[in-house]
């Protein structure tokens, strides 16, 4: 427990130093600290736990006022579940398993855990958790996202989840609640996009790690309206700062980090990127890309709203569940179009083989834009930090040289 | 969603009760008043007209008595034909493969009849059909004090045994009857229910025999039926409660179940009694048509059957399962005309090699055991002795071509 708290605290303290004195930032860091503090973990007994990012947030919020999202991410928790999982299980699943099954706190005591069976790890995790007596409602993801049958299947699975959760929490999924949740998510999304845009305008105002932690805090904030309010304040503060001060143009190469998700508190790679002199422009992974997904228009019936959500989500979502992860490709292409990205890091967590299968397509896409791609395979442990640093520094050097070449050629 | 379902349920219940109450006002086929009219010792408002004397089989009087039943059979056939044609049209429009509709082709396989449980059951069913309906004529006497608790019909005065259903549906008569009568009725009900339970449904009831005949007819014609699943079976169970209410209660509020019960169309007519039919005629059409498309559909809603099933925990016939040999293939559930899923899902029990899975719905038709491909996974015991055990080789013999057992010619 101590180690877990230390892990969280270190990252947050480091992040707290990496901005130009915006007071609003503290609120976000405190929110994150509170969400992972010992009292919260021990005392708060959520009735709904969402494992993973691919259950739509609006559905979770409509089913429960304070759902807890478990996305993995902590090295300490991977150690807790070591005995239960095979050697090749990916660290996100290990961490998720550790969060739910340990002797220190019992998050799942009163809860029903909801997850999407989008990969092997998830399927067997559902089996494992059930075997340990945790209530699990699992949604089967259809392997295609483009056919109408697939959309119907997805909608049916979400309704099935809703039934299972309602039976447990005794909160019925009504159209009214779903509408409110969708609206809330829309506000969150708009604020997040504005925030990202501001951050790109002034890359020296805030480190990308802090920027991404603030974005990720949306998953953990107890009240999302408050979150939006504070983010708007922060945006205002940053806008003022941009107008007041002169900004050096950022000479660092901009890179895109895509592939396996980066989850708080595992900021190993972002830290390494900073240290190697690269600016992490954006992350194109399944967690970060949830912000991209449009919200469905409100309708009158739950079924119709969910169907519309399916139509919007499924083609944009990047998930290991699809046979070809086109959502990820189009998201990457989008970023390559709009951001001055010089290089791409394809991040593969050990055991998340679906991203390895996508690599050839991503490389081909990046080649069209003249963007080099480097594949980094890692997990949550710190042992390979030095090797990664060497590789990233070499990559950064290569990008710098290329950029200078380009400037010289342009001149 | 829930609200709609409750509304539909309430409406359906009301509709059934109203139909049952006013059943006598819906004439299906009435005979003109003949000389002697008598009603059974019921103090109800309605009186049925019928002729006291039973006609000899194949006499002109018999044909007159068979008229309503013939009309019923004719109407049923028309309904079935309409349904098949309608389905063909609907499927053609929606693009479902042609093969799914109606009758198509035949198979090269000719099955050799084998003497087993199934054969014994058919023989007993035919015998009981003959004995119950024409028993009085054949044997000269009737055992009218013995009240068999199945839907045989008291209007067939030459029936071999009495009919327990009459007392249940006219509970107000209890007060009028003599102690002797009450004791005989109660006694025969208790003895039959406790000793045999729903074995009577599976082996003796003539209405059950008729439904099994309809099912075999559909199998021979290879016409598509309506496969049920959990949700639809739940709907049927709901109707069963309504039927039970009607069965026990309608006599107390001034109606008569006999005007509603389909069995009245079968037994008296075949024995040559001219019985006027009211709503029961339409009910019989429903029974025949639904029994064609879904095996033993009426047995799922039969109130008498439900009452027989009540003491299933102490009945002599038991259905048991070896949970280790069971592969959870679900064949027993698919084969079960009563839609009992627990035989397939139950795994825990005191002795897992012999778990008692008898339920209140089971009519002991033995289909589950017949379709079980694992040796000894399911077995039926009567008074502790195994009378039918699942066997893989017997299962295979139901499906192989007769010569397949020896060598196989190239097909």
């Amino acid at each position: 427990m101590e180690k877990l708290q230390n892990e969280i605290r270190t990252i947050l303290e480091q992040a707290a130093r990496e901005h130009c004195g915006f007071p609003e930032v503290n609120w976000f860091l405190q929110t994150m600290e509170h969400a992972f503090s010992a009292e919260t973990l021990i005392n708060e007994k959520p009735s709904l736990i969402v494992l993973g990012e691919d259950i739509p947030r609006e559905l979770a919020l409509a089913l429960s006022d304070h759902p807890r999202f478990i996305l993995g991410g902590s090295l300490e928790t991977t150690h807790w579940s070591d005995a239960l999982l095979p050697r090749d299980a990916d660290p996100v699943s290990r961490s998720a398993c550790g969060w739910l099954l340990n002797e220190k706190f019992n998050l799942a005591g009163n809860a029903i855990v909801v997850m999407a069976l989008s990969s092997d790890n998830r399927r067997k995790l559902a089996s494992l958790l059930r075997g340990k007596g945790i209530r699990v409602a699992a949604a089967d993801m259809p392997p295609r996202y483009d056919t109408s049958e697939a959309r119907d299947a997805w909608t049916a699975e979400m309704l099935r989840l809703a039934d299972a959760v309602s039976a447990h929490t005794h909160i019925r999924l009504s159209a009214r609640r779903l509408k409110a949740a969708i609206r809330q998510r829309e506000h969150v999304r708009e604020a997040a996009i504005d925030f990202e845009n501001i951050a790109w305008q002034a890359t020296d105002s805030m480190s990308p790690i802090l920027r991404d932690i603030i974005m990720e805090s949306a998953w953990y904030a107890p009240d999302r309206k408050e979150w939006v309010y504070h983010l708007r304040n922060l945006i205002a503060q940053m806008t003022t700062w941009i107008r007041q001060y002169y900004h050096h143009p950022d000479e660092r190469p901009w890179v895109l980090l895509a592939g396996s998700p980066i989850v708080f508190p595992n900021e190993k790679l972002p830290n390494l990127l900073e240290a190697s002199g690269l600016y992490l422009a954006d992350r194109a992974d399944s967690i970060a890309l949830q912000t991209d997904i449009l919200c469905a228009e409100a309708g009158h019936s739950v079924q119709r709203m969910l169907r519309r959500t399916a139509d919007l989500r499924m083609r944009m979502e990047t998930s290991g569940a699809w046979i070809s992860n086109d959502g990820l490709l189009s998201a990457v292409q989008n970023r390559l179009d709009h951001l001055p990205v010089s290089g791409m890091i394809w991040h593969v967590l050990k055991g998340q083989i679906e991203y390895d299968f996508e690599l050839p397509k991503v490389e081909a896409l990046a080649a069209e834009y003249g963007v080099p791609v480097i594949r980094l395979e890692t997990d949550y442990q710190q042992q390979d930090v030095e090797q990664l640093r060497i590789r990233l520094e070499a990559f950064a050097e290569m990008l710098r040289v290329r950029n200078q070449e380009r400037i010289r050629i342009a001149q | 969603m829930k609200k709609e379902r409750i509304l539909i349920a309430v409406l359906a219940a009301l509709a059934l009760v109203v139909l049952a109450y006013f059943a006598a006002d819906v004439p299906f086929y009435t005979y003109p008043e003949t000389g002697v009219t008598a009603s059974l010792q019921s103090e109800t408002d309605t009186e049925l007209t019928f002729s006291v004397a039973g006609n000899e089989v194949f006499s002109p009087g018999w044909f007159e008595a068979m008229m309503p039943f013939t009309i019923i059979v004719g109407l049923s056939l028309v309904c079935i034909l309409l349904d098949v044609l309608l389905r063909k049209r609907l499927y053609r429009k929606s693009g479902i493969p042609e093969a799914r509709t109606g009758k198509a082709g035949s198979e090269k396989r000719r099955k050799r009849p084998v003497f087993g449980f199934e054969m014994v059951r058919w023989i007993i069913m035919i015998f009981s059909f003959i004995l119950l309906i024409w028993g009085g004529k054949l044997l000269g006497t009737t055992l009218s004090s013995l009240q068999l608790p199945i839907l045989t019909c008291p209007y067939n005065e030459e029936q071999l045994t009495g009919a327990g259903c009459f007392l249940f549906s006219n509970l107000d008569m209890l007060a009028e009857s003599s102690v002797d009568e009450i004791l005989w009725s109660a006694g025969s009900f208790i003895v039959c229910a406790v000793l045999f339970g729903r074995l009577l449904c599976g082996f003796v009831c003539p209405l059950g025999f008729v439904q099994d005949v309809m099912h075999e007819l559909r199998q021979k014609l290879h016409t598509e039926g309506i496969p049920l699943n959990e949700k639809l079976y739940a709907g049927l169970r709901f109707i069963k409660w309504i039927m039970l209410l009607i069965f026990l209660g309608i006599g107390l509020i001034g109606g008569s179940f006999c005007d509603f019960c389909p069995a009245i169309t079968l037994s008296p007519a075949l024995a040559g009694f001219k019985t006027s039919l009211y709503f029961s005629g339409f009910m019989m059409v429903v029974v025949l048509v639904s029994g064609f498309f879904k095996r033993r559909c009426f047995c799922n809603i039969c109130p008498m059957g439900y009452l027989l099933g009540l003491p299933h925990k102490v009945s002599l016939a038991r259905l048991k399962k070896n949970a280790v040999a069971c592969t959870e293939c679900g064949a027993c559930y698919e084969a079960c005309p009563m839609g009992i899923k627990s035989i397939f899902t139950v795994r825990e029990g005191k002795n897992e090699l012999s778990i008692d899975v008898t339920t209140a719905d089971c009519i002991f038709c033995g289909e589950c055991i017949r379709r079980c491909p694992e040796d000894g996974a399911l077995f039926m015991t009567l008074a502790g002795k195994k009378i039918y055990t699942a066997s893989r080789m017997k299962f295979m013999q139901d499906y192989v071509t007769p010569r397949g057992k020896k060598a196989v010619e190239n097909e």
């Binding site: 399927r123 046979i323 679906e354 | 493969p97 039926g225 592969t327 064949a331 084969a335 379709r371 295979m396």
Partner: protein
């Protein structure tokens, strides 16, 4: 030998790769077959099965079948062979076991992908396996992650039918969803063969597979009554040959084998002595020519009495229980068979596999369990822990053996298997 349909001529590097593939592929297949034949007490009637395997892997011929019958490549047991036979094609199970194809696929597939998928990718690249190349359609049920991505990869290269297998199977709707998938599959088959699905053809196909499964039931029955009657490597060869044999032929061959075994049983001639430990092999599939493990077990003094793998007995064990003799009824039975009794770990709830293994242990008086995990097969690895616990409750020794598609670890495996067999002989569970 094999005519390539491509017009572009191979360059010399490709030609060398092809030649190497041919040479090594034949060598490995021949070696495995020789090792199988060298085991004692090989029944005469096993030869036709070994010849099938030889034809496919050593001589690299196409599957033998009547003229003008196209082949449909299937991956996973959830694709019902009955439907494919009914619509005028022949199913061939193409899960790859070839070391040489694996070597080629290793360069294309991600490093951690399972060797089965790498072998299939190798087949596609090398263009030298007619049984693979000549398939008119590939039917891939989406089960594990690697198969999922394989489906996408194949879709870009040849006509592929993708079947969505429900991960949850506790509700009736899940099984009924798969019936819908089978209808869609039937349409795709019709496009390939031109033969629509009719009651008569489907009923006849079901009778054909019922005959085959009847012989398999006899085979299993004989082995249950006399667990020592035949070596497991031979049984595995029989089941592996099923993937490439025209079904009535296979039925006839198995019927002859059953007759021979029945007469051996009558004369009480067993394949091994009573004191040789009876071992159950479970886990990732054992696909010819990757017969490393069965051959090791039997050459180190054990008997592979039973297996719980999908290219072994489980590949054809469950019969469809047809309760309704209509097209819809039969497809329902096929869907039922593909989803409910299936012990594939890609289903979210796979408790039934534990019961299945316990029943096998009772039937064959098993004394030890070897849990086979292919490197990269995550789903079987996940289930190991629970199985280990359950075997502990029974006092049954169990070891986890992880292996890959190459011959480098044969010696290490030999040591481990030998030690395991010694453990059972001199200290393990006495049954």
């Amino acid at each position: 030998m094999n005519e390539k349909t491509n017009i572009t001529p191979m360059n010399s590097a490709q030609a060398r790769q092809q030649e190497r593939f041919d040479r090594k592929g034949t060598a490995i297949a021949e070696k495995m077959l020789r090792q199988i034949r060298e085991l004692s007490h090989m029944p005469e009637t096993l030869n036709p099965f070994l010849e099938t395997l030889e034809g496919i892997f050593s001589r690299r011929e196409d599957a033998l079948r009547p003229q003008d019958v196209p082949t449909v490549g299937t991956y996973c047991v959830m694709v019902p062979p009955e439907m494919i036979y009914a619509q005028g094609a022949m199913p061939v199970k193409l899960c790859g076991g070839s070391y040489t194809a694996f070597g080629i696929g290793d360069d294309i597939a991600p490093r951690d992908a399972c060797p089965l998928v790498k072998a299939i990718m190798g087949f596609e690249e090398i263009d030298a396996m007619p049984v693979y190349q000549n398939c008119s359609l590939m039917a891939v049920p989406v089960t594990c992650d690697c198969k999922k991505k394989l489906a996408g990869w194949l879709q870009d290269r040849r006509p592929t039918a993708v079947l969505h297998v429900p991960a949850n199977r506790d509700r009736d709707e899940d099984m009924e969803m798969f019936v819908g998938e089978l209808y869609l599959f039937s349409e795709q088959l019709e496009q390939i063969t031109g033969v629509p699905l009719t009651y008569g053809s489907l009923a006849d196909a079901c009778s054909m597979t019922a005959n085959a499964q009847y012989q398999l039931s006899r085979f299993i029955d004989l082995r249950r009554k006399h667990p020592l009657i035949i070596r497991g490597s031979f049984s595995m060869a029989v089941m592996n040959a099923l993937s490439y044999t025209w079904l009535p032929d296979w039925t006839k061959q198995l019927s002859d084998l059953n007759d021979e075994l029945a007469s051996l049983a009558k004369q009480k001639e067993m394949a091994v002595k009573e004191n040789q430990p009876r071992i159950l092999l479970t886990g990732s599939p054992v696909i010819f020519p990757n017969f490393k493990l069965p051959l090791l077990i039997e050459s180190m003094g054990g008997l592979l009495a039973a297996d719980e793998t999908c290219m072994g007995e489980r590949g054809f064990y469950d019969p469809p229980a047809i309760v309704d003799r209509t097209v819809d009824g039969m497809l329902r039975a096929l869907s039922n068979r593909a989803t409910r009794p299936c012990t594939c770990p890609t289903f979210a709830d796979n408790q039934r596999r534990i019961y299945r293994i316990r029943q096998l242990i009772r039937d064959y008086r098993i004394q030890g369990v070897i849990y086979h995990v292919l490197r990269g097969c995550l789903v079987y690895d996940y289930e190991y822990r629970q199985l280990e616990e359950e075997m502990g409750k029974l006092g049954m020794p169990v070891i986890r053996v992880e292996t890959d598609y190459n011959e480098e670890d044969v010696e290490q495996l030999r040591i481990r298997v030998e030690a395991f067999i010694e453990l059972i002989k001199y200290g393990g569970k006495q049954v």
